[in-house]
Symmetry: C2
Subunit: 192 residues, 2 copies
């Protein structure tokens, strides 16, 4: 097994275990076994478990952000862009339940609070997150309600994450129609 493959195996094993059983149910020994490597080997690739988890999240986050911009017409109307991004995101989660469940757990943990702190409070440096720009533009152009960015995020993301979670847990069967209706409802929530 090539060196970089092994790294990927470890990340993938961690993703699966944490997604399925939570942080509690993902001891290093189990990750190693599922990855098909020795426990000690993990420490050749990651300084410790925290670093492993953070790097895993970072990789997923970057990949998703990049993916969201596929076929994203910057010149389209604001509402259309919002719907495009949101449906793409929701679809991604539904198609990748393991990744979703990991991300959800990560965000609902001390890790996630730190992440949000950097992201929200961090001075408006370069930010590859397309949502932020979208919402800020919407506020400026008086298309979106004049509320703090954090609240707008809550209104747009809160339902998306909740619906994705309930779909994956089998509490609702999201089909294409329902998915679009949900995103539309989110838009109704933030639009002026």
């Amino acid at each position: 097994m090539a060196i970089s493959e092994k790294r990927q195996e470890i990340l993938h094993a961690a993703l699966e275990l944490i997604a399925e059983h939570g942080f509690h149910g993902a001891p290093i020994a189990a990750i190693a076994e599922r990855a098909g490597v020795g426990a000690g080997t993990i420490y050749r690739y990651f300084e410790n478990k925290d670093v492993l988890i953070n790097e895993l999240f970072q990789e997923l986050h970057d990949r998703i952000c990049t993916g969201l911009l596929e076929g994203y017409g910057t010149d389209r109307p604001l509402r259309e862009r919002f719907v495009h991004l949101s449906t793409a995101l929701l679809r991604y989660f539904i198609d990748n339940p393991l990744e979703f469940r990991f991300i959800e757990q990560y965000l609902n943990s001390p890790y996630g609070n730190a992440f949000r702190r950097v992201r929200l409070m961090g001075a408006g440096e370069e930010d590859d997150d397309p949502y932020r720009h979208l919402l800020e533009e919407g506020v400026a152009r008086r298309i979106v309600k004049d509320l703090p960015l954090v609240v707008l995020f809550a209104l747009a993301f809160g339902p998306l994450l909740a619906v994705a979670r309930d779909h994956i847990l089998g509490f609702v069967a999201l089909n294409e129609v329902l998915l679009v209706q949900t995103v539309q409802a989110c838009w109704d929530g933030i639009k002026r």
Copy 2:
């Protein structure tokens, strides 16, 4: 100390520690110390740690459900009732950050998934949750979007929980005005 007081001391200590430091940071020894009892005593009141945590959640849930109905006029217009319940809930969370943080952690864990499963899937038995009735009535009377109950819950609760969390973490300062605006936005999301 009377017998029931001791039980309450234990529950309160667990609430504080879990709210402040997560499930990880609340070992039985620490709960016992904060409650001012011996570690073994806890096992006289609760079969094990899981039971303790579940009973704590159940008590909070019941208390909140009861409190929400204070001054709740069943005969008011639907929208007004929704606003009443939602603002009361959001206010409660903001005024009781420890309880909120515990509840949030509980819901975002295997415990919470089990809870939701019972609650959503459970045949429509008696349900003291006033929200459920409200939404179902809204759908029937064509005031609320015709979406599955789970999706409506996501649209209404998702943002509320997210906003409460961000307020408590200090990412936004929710005042009375902002609170009402947020609830109004949630209504915009679910209304037809």
